[in-house]
């Protein structure tokens, strides 16, 4: 009897496992389906897209939609704009946020509390509510229809979060490590570059991804502030597929795939690296 009981229980447990995994597969299918549908549509021929019965797999597969999307006016201009904006926002925000994070994590100073309140409260300000005064101040500063105006705006909206996250990462580095390096005869700069910087690196990567995604995906500011088509970004470019005659679904899905690709690749590649503990292996126990 006592020998049978655990076996029975484990069989029940296995049955449960299978059930949960089946449910997991279903959830996976539902969540991923829209993305799959975009990619699959982008490879279909025009006839197979506009069919009464949907075609589940693209056959014959074609690259015509991609060619069509890339041949559209201003595609390459807009790719270039998106890349310039993202690079500037990520680079500048990382440097500024790292400096501020050092101040918050390593010093106690008068006004620290106020600065923290500012950083947190500012994240509550809805961007969509500020679009009117931003538009008016940028027009006064002659920054409308210029990439620089958009870069500065994105930068500010990314900064509070990056400061807050980096502060956590900097604090995660044990002080003993730096002190030990100094005792071992390292200079201050040495302790900084050899101890702090490598340990904070995952945090810098995580934060830069956040800034990257924010800047790449943003729509409203680019849509309102950049008037000329050659000045716009990829997310605004995507809206140009819908005309009064209807929507060109094939090329639109190809364009959407191209727009999502850099973010998705970047995100999925680095996502697991972020999960590594900050000081994994550096200090045990």
């Amino acid at each position: 009897m006592s020998a049978i009981l655990p076996r029975r229980r484990s069989r029940r447990r296995i049955a449960g496992r299978v059930g949960w995994n089946a449910l997991g597969l279903l959830v996976f299918a539902v969540m991923v389906f829209p993305v799959y549908w975009m990619i699959s549509t982008s490879f279909k021929t025009g006839q197979n897209i506009l069919r009464d019965t949907p075609q589940w797999f693209p056959s014959p597969a074609t690259l015509a939609n991609y060619r069509d999307a890339m041949d559209r006016p201003y595609f390459w201009d807009n790719v270039k704009n998106s890349v310039i904006i993202v690079c500037c926002v990520v680079g500048i925000s990382l440097v500024l946020a790292f400096l501020a994070a050092l101040a918050l994590a390593k010093f106690s100073f008068y006004g620290r509390g106020a600065f923290i309140v500012l950083i947190i409260a500012v994240q509550m300000v809805p961007l969509n509510a500020l679009i009117i005064p931003l538009y008016i101040s940028l027009s006064r500063a002659d920054q409308l229809n210029k990439l620089s105006g958009v870069i500065v705006t994105y930068l500010t909206f990314v900064l509070p979060f990056t400061v807050w996250t980096l502060r956590g990462f900097v604090m995660g580095v044990p002080r003993e490590l730096e002190e030990a390096a100094m005792v071992d005869g390292s200079t201050r700069l040495g302790a900084f570059t050899r101890i702090l910087l490598p340990l904070v690196a995952p945090g810098l990567v995580a934060t830069s991804i956040f800034a990257f995604i924010q800047a790449w995906n943003e729509f409203l500011i680019a849509y309102v502030f950049l008037n000329d088509q050659e000045k716009q970004t990829l997310t605004v470019w995507l809206a140009s597929f819908t005309t009064s005659r209807g929507t060109d679904w094939g090329p639109l899905m190809a364009g959407a795939t191209l727009t999502a690709l850099p973010v998705v690749v970047f995100f999925v590649l680095v996502h697991r690296k972020i999960a590594f503990g900050l000081t994994a292996g550096a200090v045990r126990g």
Binding site: G16, R17, W20, G24, L25, V27, F28, M31, V32, P34, V35, L50, R51, P54, L96, L99, L102, A103, F107, F109, F115, I116, L118, I119, I120, A121, M124, V125, P126, L127, N128, A129, L130, I131, I132, P133, L134, I136, S137, S139, V152, L155, T156, F157, P160, R175, M182, F192, N217, F219, T235, L238, A239, F241, W249, A256, T259, V263, F267, V268
Partner: protein
């Protein structure tokens, strides 16, 4: 990264405190360190503080100012509008449309945040029960959805619910759930908002799920085991152990969701091709249309001020909690 003789980057100066105690003779250098240590943090936060002040602080002030002015297209060119006191607000509060839109936005936010949190929690709990392969697969899928830009997601959903060739109408008809052939989901705002809600919840689930899963895996197993031995079922374990332990995380996630869903703009704007009907207006759309379509910047600013006010009230608890975290550590 500059490290001057005084150590502007600061943190190594902390060790100077140790030196101070050990070598009292070098007092002069210590005072130099002390000065640098007092000034360094201000130098470090200055660029960020300036940027935030210029691009967030000033516009916020300007927003309040505009809402008290008669500010239309002519004033945009003149760069200054006449003061009209609270006229914009009086007009707003006497506008029936404002109350309709405000109520609609509240209901919309409530439904979206609720669905996001419930589904996100359920999927996170499911993740804890999956085998390692299935867990990796589902997590990867979630990350894929998370990374999908909103603008792209809107276009996918627009295509899926297309009245002629959309995959949704075909599937629902095939499942014998009724005749959905050539059904235009946006003809009726209720079904239209159902599509928009699906789009927003779909996009928001991954973040909530992954954060909660990370939280669940930090709940000590001994606690859960002890409760199970005492005869508690899954629901009791969640209610009495997991949820109370992770309450701060839930508060943060709910607050962030409220912030995001209360100011939804892109999804509505793009799914209606940049011309949303009045039945689809939420606060942000209302404000945007008044300002940029009708040229009533002052009136639009008043609507935005109300938005900011509601948002601060709704997120007050969260801000207080975050500040406490920031100060004690």
């Amino acid at each position: 990264m500059s490290t001057g003789p005084g150590g502007e980057t600061g943190f190594p100066a902390l060790t100077a405190a140790a030196a101070e105690a050990a070598i009292p003779r070098r007092r002069r250098r210590v005072t130099r360190h002390a000065v640098a240590r007092t000034l360094a943090p201000y130098a470090l936060i200055a660029p960020t503080a300036l940027a935030i002040g210029a691009v967030l602080g000033y516009p916020l002030y300007l927003l309040g100012r505009l809402s008290l002015q008669q500010f239309g297209l002519a004033e945009l060119i003149l760069q200054e509008g006449p003061w009209i006191g609270f006229d914009n607000y009086t007009r707003l509060f006497h506008d029936r449309q404002f109350w309709t839109v405000l109520l609609r936005t509240f209901v919309f936010t409530f439904v979206n945040v609720g669905l996001t949190m419930v589904l996100g929690t359920l999927i996170a709990l499911l993740l804890t029960r999956l085998g390692s392969f299935m867990r990796l697969l589902l997590t990867t899928g979630l990350v894929l959805v998370w990374a999908t830009p909103v603008v792209v997601a809107v276009n996918i959903f627009r295509w899926m619910v297309d009245f002629e060739f959309g995959v949704l109408n075909w599937t629902l008809t095939e499942l014998h759930l009724g005749d959905f052939l050539n059904k235009d989901w946006f003809a009726d705002p209720t079904t239209g908002f159902a599509v928009i809600t699906a789009l927003i919840v779909w996009g928001a689930i991954p973040f909530v799920t992954i954060m909660l899963y990370a939280g669940f895996s930090q709940v000590p197993e001994e606690l859960v085991e002890a409760a199970s031995i005492d005869g508690a079922n899954g629901w009791r374990v969640f209610r009495d152990i997991t949820f109370p332990l992770l309450k701060p995380l839930f508060v943060i996630l709910i607050t962030l969701s409220i912030i995001w869903d209360f100011q939804v703009f892109n999804q509505i704007w793009l799914i209606r091709d940049g011309e949303p009907e009045e039945d689809y207006w939420l606060m942000s759309v209302y404000s945007f249309v008044e300002a940029f379509r009708l040229g009533e910047y002052g009136f639009g600013a008043a609507i935005a001020v109300v938005m900011v006010g509601v948002m601060f009230a709704a997120t007050f608890v969260y801000i207080r909690q975050m500040i406490r975290i920031g100060e004690t550590r």
